[in-house]
Amino acid sequence: MTRGNRIFLSCIYWAFVLYVFVPLILMVLMGFKDSKFIGFPIRSWTLDWYTGVLGNTEVLSAFGYSVAIAVLSTLISVAVGTWIAVLLEGRKFFGRTAVFGLTVLPALVPGIISAIAFRIYARWLGIEPGMGAIIWAHAVHNVPFVALVVMARLSTLPKSQIEAARDLGADPVITFMRITLPYLVPAILGASIFCLLLSFDDFVRSFFLGGYDPTLPVLIFAKLKSGMSPEINAIATVALVLTAAIGIWAERFTRRLNKD
């Protein structure tokens, strides 16, 4: 490789880093602007928008609502996704390809279509729009990610450990709980964090399946439609800091678990 080539490519990389960071940094900065009017330059600064958000019950309740939905839907996704992974990994049976295809289907359906399909199905099942419907839609949508991550980890589990446990008289359930599950913990944790973030960030499903209470992204969207304001920047920044922090923490945490 030539040196010029390398320098050129590294410039592209850092330009790309700028491209992904600059819009977010500008957005955070704009939340400190001492004016109702969004736009540069920022001449005077204030913390009012941020302190305002922390005292805004509408924002705080949307925030709590989003977190609750994320946690509950993740629990369902993780349980079902792990179960599916255990069925699919290393087992040959009639229809396995079909089951696998159906497992990944929700991840491949474009957002708007998936939201519409869930909306219609929820109505058919008699689920009213609201928290239950959103939790259900998020749970179904996130199952494929759990299944794929857990399958990947499961494929590296030494078969001999299972056989040893069975030889020593453990039944399949106890073998699973004491050998397989502990081995899967890093994958399950990683997948859970991913599901939490997907659910917390999701807009389109929450929008079409929601009732009167907005989730945080739906609230931001509604506010944006009625005009930009530094208040929205402050709300978005709070969401941003939280998701980025969880993402980084999870990344480090799962890496450490994988190393052990």
């Binding site: 080539n5 490519l9 819009p23 540069f40 960030d201 807009f203 978005a236 941003l240 980084i248």
Partner: protein, 333 residues
């Protein structure tokens, strides 16, 4: 019996302590295994390999059929009816009218084709933009630093769709950062209207989907042994030829899955086109959503349109993958 003796136990530490407890049936698991109702249940469930399989497979199969496939089938069914939800006293009929409506009006099929073209163009832009980045990461960054460099790019992608769309609005607005910067340099006098055009929408969608392209490309490039390139260089191939004849063909798999993913995702965006696009850039997602905001009797049409879009996206990405596969096989000969 296989009880470890005391010296063994001190040598092996906590692990053998645990084993001893198990054997004497004192742990939770030991007690559970000895509990009669549990034993009966397990005995019933694992009486034969066949039954054991059925117990394991029942929930996943029922789940994927009713939760993953069910919504899509119900959408298809509703798209073929003349009224949904059915009002009391009205009989529901099956019809193809909802599909006919799509072809009948320009305001329906125009956004549809616009969406497909936009998604194709944006996917291509994402590919061009992220390929060098992935190449740099996989080839020029030491293995030790690769994860760090990758993580740096991952962080912004943990942030949600709406927040990132808003960030682009601030970047591209008339008093946004780009316009102010150009004005300050002296390139322009009055702001360039970036917003509410296909350009602002493109910037937003590429921004949202770049990672889904980057990761498959990176993993394809990372697997590629450096020796192949060196061999080609030894045989006298120029940098461009090496890229065109070695690197590119061997990363087609990554390109193909990245493009498929990004294409499918970008056809499905709703909020981003609403916020960043304008009247001349209405995408099909907005058309579909329109049928679900008004009275319920428009649901069948909305379902039909969503079905059309889903099949179009599937056929296009399927064909694309077939093409890429053929290309790869043709090249390896």
């Amino acid at each position: 019996m296989g009880y470890p003796d005391m010296s063994d136990e001190t040598a092996q530490g906590a692990r053998s302590n645990q084993t001893k407890d198990d054997l004497s049936g004192q742990t939770f698991w030991g007690r559970l295994a000895g509990w009669t109702p549990y034993r009966l249940l397990i005995g019933l469930a694992t009486a034969s390999p066949r039954r054991q399989f059925l117990v394991l497979a029942a929930l996943p199969i029922v789940w994927v059929l009713t939760q993953h496939l069910g919504p899509m089938l119900q959408m298809l069914r509703v798209s073929l009816t003349d009224a949904y939800p059915v009002a009391p006293g009205v009989e529901q009929h099956f019809t193809l009218d909802n599909y006919a409506r799509f072809f009948g009006d320009r305001i329906f099929w125009q956004p549809f084709f616009r969406t497909l073209i936009f998604a194709g163009v944006f996917t291509f832009c994402t590919l061009i933009l992220t390929y060098p980045v992935a190449y740099f990461l996989a080839r020029h960054v030491s293995r030790k630093n690769q994860m760090l460099f990758l993580l740096l790019l991952l962080v912004p992608f943990w942030v949600g769709e709406i927040v990132r769309t808003y960030a682009i609005m601030i970047l591209l607005g008339n008093t946004g950062a780009v316009n102010q910067l150009l004005k300050w340099i002296g390139l322009i006098d009055r702001p360039i209207p970036f917003m509410y055009t296909s350009f602002s929408m493109g910037v937003g969608i590429v921004y949202l989907t770049a990672l889904y392209m980057l990761l498959p490309l990176y993993s394809a490039l990372e697997k590629l042994p450096k020796s192949l390139n060196e061999a080609a260089a030894d045989l006298g191939a120029s940098a461009w030829t090496r890229f065109r004849r070695v690197t590119l063909p061997l990363t087609i798999e990554g390109i193909s899955s990245g493009c498929t993913l990004v294409f499918l995702i970008s056809t499905g965006f709703y909020a981003t086109p609403v916020l960043l696009g304008g009247p001349s850039t209405t995408v099909f997602a907005e058309t579909i959503a329109g049928f679900f905001h008004v009275a319920g009797d428009e649901w069948p049409t909305g379902s039909a349109f969503a079905t059309i879009m889903f099949f179009a996206a599937l056929v296009l990405t399927g064909t694309f993958q077939k093409l890429m596969n053929a290309l790869r096989k043709g090249d390896s000969k």
